[in-house]
Assembly symmetry: C2
């Protein structure tokens, strides 16, 4: 086994670039046919895939990995079928490549068009769920991009098997299999080297713990699309007469339907005029489900069993059965709190007042702003993107859930008839 | 004068963020009225502006700056009027803010919209032309962004005067004057500090020499939109019968109309089947205008007075009366050469063959790809964007000439009726 990491990494980059040059020449039909072939191969080779997965699951058991982590890692026939379905659904999406974003003629007769094109090569870091491998590969092939996959080492054999199936299907479709490459070396020394391949890689998407993401941002000379934390808020407006039950239901759903998700709610802000009516009811309902309430002074007056919130609480992404609760004097105060303490991920207002909703939507500086809906909807699937490759809390390029279209850029195509300036 | 640079820089950042929070609440009418007021003030205060400019021009003369640099620096009444006109034109553009990029209902009745919103705060580094100051300020106010301007020190007094006029006009329009701030300290120690203000600044755009841009990329923890070099190509295809004169005219225009511009052509590639007919004529016409031709072996056979090109020539952005000339065997070879040696800025094909044009447009990986037109058209003004804040050779977010729309991002606005997941 070679340990010449610089050469290894450059080979990956060069091969990905070469594959991306072929991908831009393909029709959507050719790319989608390849995806359908991948989906079929995942189904027909389920047994081999489960055998590879068993190696990872056994190793995880020996390493005494936590139960939920092993559960995320473990595949079965049903999960493989769902992976295949996901690839098939991505194949069936409208092709983002070649779309005209805008086009017009200039007074001198020059035709100017902004045309959507693939980014080129994507480097993707991610954790241990093997279905992410097939989703990411499919999104990239659909959008005409080559991808270099660096998955968690816990899923090494599963990922290797999936990428092997993908490569065979690409080859059978006369597509360069380097369109989907797998970093089959787990040495961490590779990571900084990969992140310097800015000549061959156009975008890095790191998914995982904050430590990994910070490392990538620090080391990368390639643009990074990232997602740090999800400190999400619900603001309960003054104008909530008649929707009291909705307020309780939405707050419970946002906290409890998947507490560990980045789009679960962490803090509830109540307008003073609604607090008397709604704060005790919402807090009691949450507390009944085991949620610890940490309140400011006013919240503790209205719901005396809550613990006192500290200053640090308002910046916290708990991802646990804890909620910070605060009373604010106005919508403006709520907006200011959210912009100051939130993570610009997802925040919601519950109100019957059209103008309040409008102001909240305009002024809250977050990727997703929801009106009268649970923060848990901030998700590529729920927004209709099909699979998502990640959620961006950056403002540049793509924001919020990212689907195939968000893996494209554009070029200016300008057509003249011998025009000179 | 304070030398507590960290405090100075943080004050700029905080004030810009505060101003950006006000800008998102304003209507387009309010932002455009402020711009019209700025345009009027530039006109009515021309004398004061010229007096400030005279300080810079005198200092430049004393420092024995090169003639063309002084010419770029020097304002007169006509140039000030043109600056005011530029601001007025930006005011009259269609508002990019609030545009719906896409919107649809989900099966569960949830309404999903991608709505265009300002980025927030832009930090802009630029060289010595004072009109860039008013253009950049106007583009940012139009698109609802606050801007922090760091201009070349040669134009210090001019820029300070322009920003003073802008600030007064903003104040008179009840807009926080911190929407347009000027870094009124020239100490270079400020630059790395500014580039770490990622909490308050959303985007850095450096315009200037490659050294400045590399410094910014290295030091910045804020996303950077940049433009390194413009190594632009024209490929003369086999199918050029009947457009011989156009080929000569376009090549001459692309090289000579503004040789120092980033969109001027540096290298000409001739398909072998067109080289006999066209290479000598194009090279002779260029040489007659004083252009030094550096050819590969085949080019030198066809145009014997050309100098031999070295391997380094193909990567060179001359910005001078020099052109590299090469004969290629196919369109694919031309594309490969351009993707390998070009700077992904602007490249053109001259052809009568529709399929050749199509393949070239698809496969050349550049911000602007032109068909039968001079590379010199790759410009915000020529593309109809009005003023441009820069040209991006990045692929992320914006590519090629950047106008007001490219200073925006989007947010997901999702509206339900008590929806839970």
């Amino acid at each position: 086994m070679s340990t010449d990491w610089p050469a290894y990494v450059q080979t990956l980059g060069l091969a990905a670039r070469r594959a991306s040059r072929q991908l831009v020449t393909l029709t959507d039909a050719a790319r989608s046919r390849a995806l359908d072939r991948i989906a079929a191969a995942l189904r027909s080779q389920t047994d081999a895939l489960l055998a590879a997965n068993a190696l990872d699951v056994d190793a995880a058991a020996r390493a005494e990995l936590a139960g939920p982590l092993v559960a995320r890692l473990k595949l079965d026939a049903k999960k493989v079928a769902a992976m295949a379905d996901g690839v098939g659904q991505i194949a069936a999406q409208v092709d983002p490549v070649g779309q005209t974003i805008e086009a017009y003629n200039r007074p001198n007769g020059l035709r100017v068009e902004r045309r959507r094109v693939p980014l080129g090569v994507v480097l993707f870091f991610y954790e241990s769920r093997p279905n992410v491998t097939s989703d990411a590969a499919a999104l990239c092939v659909k959008s005409g991009n080559a991808i270099i996959l660096r998955g968690g080492k816990e899923a090494f054999h599963s990922n290797q098997a999936i990428v092997g199936i993908v490569a065979d299907a690409l080859r059978a479709s006369e597509i360069d299999p380097a369109a989907v490459q797998f970093v089959d070396q787990t040495d961490r020394a590779l990571v900084p080297l990969l992140l310097k391949q800015d000549k061959h890689i156009d975008l890095v998407i790191p998914r995982g713990g904050e430590g990994l993401i910070r490392l990538v941002v620090r080391e990368s000379t390639i643009p990074v699309l990232k997602h740090f934390t999800g400190n999400c808020h619900i603001y309960v407006d003054a104008a909530t007469a008649g929707i009291e039950q909705q307020v309780v239901d939405v707050c419970l759903n946002a906290k409890l339907s998947y507490t560990a998700a980045c789009n679960s709610v962490e803090h509830l802000l109540f307008h003073r005029a609604a607090a008397d009516r709604l704060l005790p009811a919402v807090c009691a309902a949450l507390a009944a489900k085991g949620v610890e309430i940490r309140g400011d002074e006013e919240a503790r007056r209205l719901f005396p069993t809550s613990k006192p919130a500290t200053a640090a609480d308002w910046d916290e992404e708990y991802l646990a059965l804890v909620a910070g609760v605060k009373v604010v004097d106005s919508l403006d105060a709520a907006v200011e709190h959210i912009n100051e303490h939130g993570s610009h991920h997802t925040d919601a207002i519950l109100t019957t007042d059209l103008r309040a909703a409008d102001r909240f939507v305009k002024q809250v500086d977050s990727a997703s702003v929801l009106v009268n809906a649970s923060t848990r909807f901030a998700d590529g699937g729920e927004y209709g993107l099909g699979a998502e490759i990640g959620i961006s809390t950056d403002k540049m390029h793509a924001r919020g859930p990212m689907g195939a279209t968000d893996l494209t850029t554009y070029k200016w195509v300008v057509t003249g008839d011998g025009h000179v300036r």
